[in-house]
Subunit: 468 residues, 2 copies
């Protein structure tokens, strides 16, 4: 958490009333809809402590009231948190309003002030982004300190539509349309499929007071520009625009779940700064999604142009492209590797009985056989090295042996070649020379990071031969 | 084809010049881009006859010029077709312009007039939709009569963006974002990823004349409303809006290919007015996509609300919903059936040696055994009937026997029950009574529309038991 500004009065809850107000009235129709939405989507488990993000605007005030009225049905405990953004002069008035509201309702309130404009200047970010960052930092801090389980946000259907539209305009793939999920980690959005006008109607019915969020009317903020300039025009084409955007959101959410299953099924092989997957049965869409997932894990998400150009390369049997600083995507045989460039070990001398690490492959030199994958060595100058230009065994190039054994190109430069003096005696899975086991010195392969790949690759090769 | 209006002068090509103009100049940069796009996406095979849809506007005039200049590289033959929409008074001027243009360029031109306003009044559709319908009907007719292979359309990146945005605003799922494909059956769009301004620049460089499409400035048409009112505002947020929409289009195209593969893999079982698929390993997204595909095949595409409510039902072990006139979606065990309501056979008397059809199941009564699935009958009153309330064999309900054999609910009412007088002797895959084979009368099951399902279902059951 960075520079959260002056804390006023303190992070300790302002009110600790023993009994919260209990509403005995029959539920309002909107309350029933929210209750159903929460239950159907399993947003809030029984017994949860739920921290309501309370700006004092109509959305969050209604959210707090609705949750208070259905909290006995949900069997939950409610708290509230308010961050004074100090952006506008009226912020102090909002703060006072929220304090009074929680006092009246008997809700524990956590409050803090953050100098958003200063934070944005210092971090050279927009006011909208800065306010969001500080707000979420604050909410997460309060959630932990108040032992709350969930943070309830008052985002509504209009917010959802605006966000989707914003993403479309800025440029997004399909999964980018999955924003503002009903449940997203510890964040829940009970009002997500309720429109702003329905919320305002509720406030009128219940005669609720709330503060006007003045930033709403400032079209300098992109979000407000979309709300006040773009949406009214789009609604001339379709007055029920929010439903259209919700439809897209719904479809994208289903797709995201489908992709999570794909990632699960794809059995990514992760070792050090590299992720490998087998593309045998995958289509272009699936490969692209796995690439997007993996590069995001490396904190280097692919942009659209990169995705487009890689998808053109996929039909080639092998390729190698740099997609970010020292991050490469490489294809060899039926594998794709996403890897960070790193220094490779190219030579290791084998002179003691101990373990040796050669680019992740672990060998053990010993007077005993330690695994089924081993070779007997002479009492001589033994070492492991990587391949060199022109490497041959007899008349056959090492490269051709590796191709024949379907070692993907991207593994060949770091592949261990075991030598006895100048003679190549062993290349795991590729070549083994017949040596008399007289010296009592054995080199065993005891950990092999890519063994499963080489086995899959071999399997594929056999299948290909069978087809011929 | 409906009411194509007056045909002037005739469908026969106006110009049949032996030599088309061959351009010897080096290719323009835009021509090179289009050539590359056509080649990379394999839009137009060598030797094709390509009919260019020529309105006379800047897009189609440039398309014709570009294709003329790259036609020797592509080894194609070009023709053109122009439909006079008769919407505006200037239409006749456009027609004259196009005739003169093709004369100058030596391109065969097919021309026709259609009274679009009249067609729209008569069919109660919008002018935009009516013009499109008549235009495509005309182009397809000319394509066939001129023995052309492909129709080249001049849609550009802006058209693509406008269409996507229009669909988003009206409401669409993800695959709805796949509109205007580079190649779509016999239609090809060589300019699809070229922006309107790039096309206008080309026209300026090449000093090309073209007519102004006045309807472009009429914001009554939704397309033009989007072009002139919506896009300029969205471009205030992102000046490169078309690229964003192209990105979404690209992603949706990949997804569509993925879905085609899914449909291929899902092995839909189609019999009469029913499609069944096995949902065992499918996720919600895949099931929803298959449902969308199947209901479209029945010409009753699901709308968003239906999809949403069905996706809520999917977790239930069985359900049955009517989604359109007499069209039902039913789930039983691990199967989903999409079916049209139809009259079911409930009783068939077996009195001659011949074949009997009972709701698609074909039985043969004979003095020989005709398949491995058979029963011997007594010389008595034999018949096949459907189940009746309270049906039992001994003390066991038929319903329980069927459940035990994992016959999906949706098949049970039409399932054949073979009776000998009043005694149930055979329910295929469910029950067979021991009968002495003395009479020499055999009933053999020779075609079984759902056998593969019952076998899959049994397989699943065995797996479940093994797990227990």
């Amino acid at each position: 958490m960075r520079r959260l500004g002056v804390r006023v009065p303190s992070l300790a809850p302002i009110f600790l009333l023993s009994a919260q107000r209990v509403c005995k009235l029959p539920l309002d129709e909107l309350e029933i809809r929210v209750l159903k939405f929460v239950q159907e989507n399993q947003l809030i488990p029984h017994g949860s402590r739920v921290l309501v993000a309370l700006s004092g605007g109509v959305d969050s005030v209604c959210l707090l009231h609705i949750l208070l009225n259905i909290k006995s049905k949900l069997q939950i405990k409610l708290l509230a948190a308010h961050l004074n953004h100090m952006i506008r002069p009226s912020a102090i008035h909002d703060e006072k309003f929220v304090i009074q509201l929680c006092k009246n309702l008997g809700v524990e309130l956590y409050i803090e002030r953050a100098d958003v404009p200063k934070f944005c200047r210092e971090n050279k970010i927009g006011i909208e982004e800065g306010a969001r960052t500080l707000r979420y930092n604050f909410l997460e801090k309060v959630r932990k300190e108040s032992s709350s389980d969930l943070i309830a946000l008052a985002h509504n259907l209009n917010d959802l539509g605006e966000t989707i539209l914003h993403r479309i305009v800025r440029g997004t793939g399909l999964t980018g349309l999955v924003c503002m999920k009903p449940k997203d980690g510890v964040k829940v959005r009970p009002l997500l499929y309720i429109s702003r006008s329905e919320i305002e109607d509720y406030a009128r019915r219940k005669k609720l007071n709330y503060v006007e969020d003045e930033s709403n009317y400032d079209v300098r903020y992109t979000r407000n520009f979309i709300r006040h300039r773009v949406l009214p025009i789009l609604k001339e084409i379709n007055p029920d625009l929010e439903s259209s955007l919700k439809q897209l959101h719904f479809a994208a959410n289903l797709l995201e779940k489908h992709l999570l299953k794909l990632i699960e099924k794809s059995r990514l092989i992760q070792f050090q700064d590299r992720v490998i997957f087998y593309i045998n049965d995958l289509d272009e869409f699936e490969i692209v999604e796995l690439l997007k997932y993996c590069t995001e894990k490396f904190n280097e998400p692919l942009n659209y142009r990169q995705i487009e150009s890689i998808s053109r390369l996929l039909s080639k049997s092998s390729f190698s492209v740099c997609v970010a600083d020292k991050l490469w995507i490489k294809k060899g045989f039926q594998f794709i590797s996403i890897e960070r460039e790193r220094n490779k070990i190219s030579f290791v001398k084998l002179d003691d009985f101990k373990e040796y690490n050669f680019n992740g492959w672990i060998f053990k030199l010993s007077d005993r056989i330690e695994s089924e994958n081993y070779i007997a060595l002479d009492k001589n100058k033994n070492f492991i090295r990587s391949r060199r230009p022109g490497d041959k065994i007899g008349k056959i190039k090492i490269k051709d042996l590796m191709i024949n054994s379907r070692i993907p190109e991207f593994l060949r430069d770091e592949y261990p070649i075991i030598c006895d003096d100048d003679k190549i005696v062993w290349i795991p899975y590729v070549y083994k020379c017949q040596v008399r086991e007289v010296s009592g010195i054995f080199l065993s392969l005891i950990f092999d990071p890519y063994g499963c790949i080489l086995k899959m690759s071999g399997l594929e090769r056999r299948k290909r031969f069978e087809r011929q």
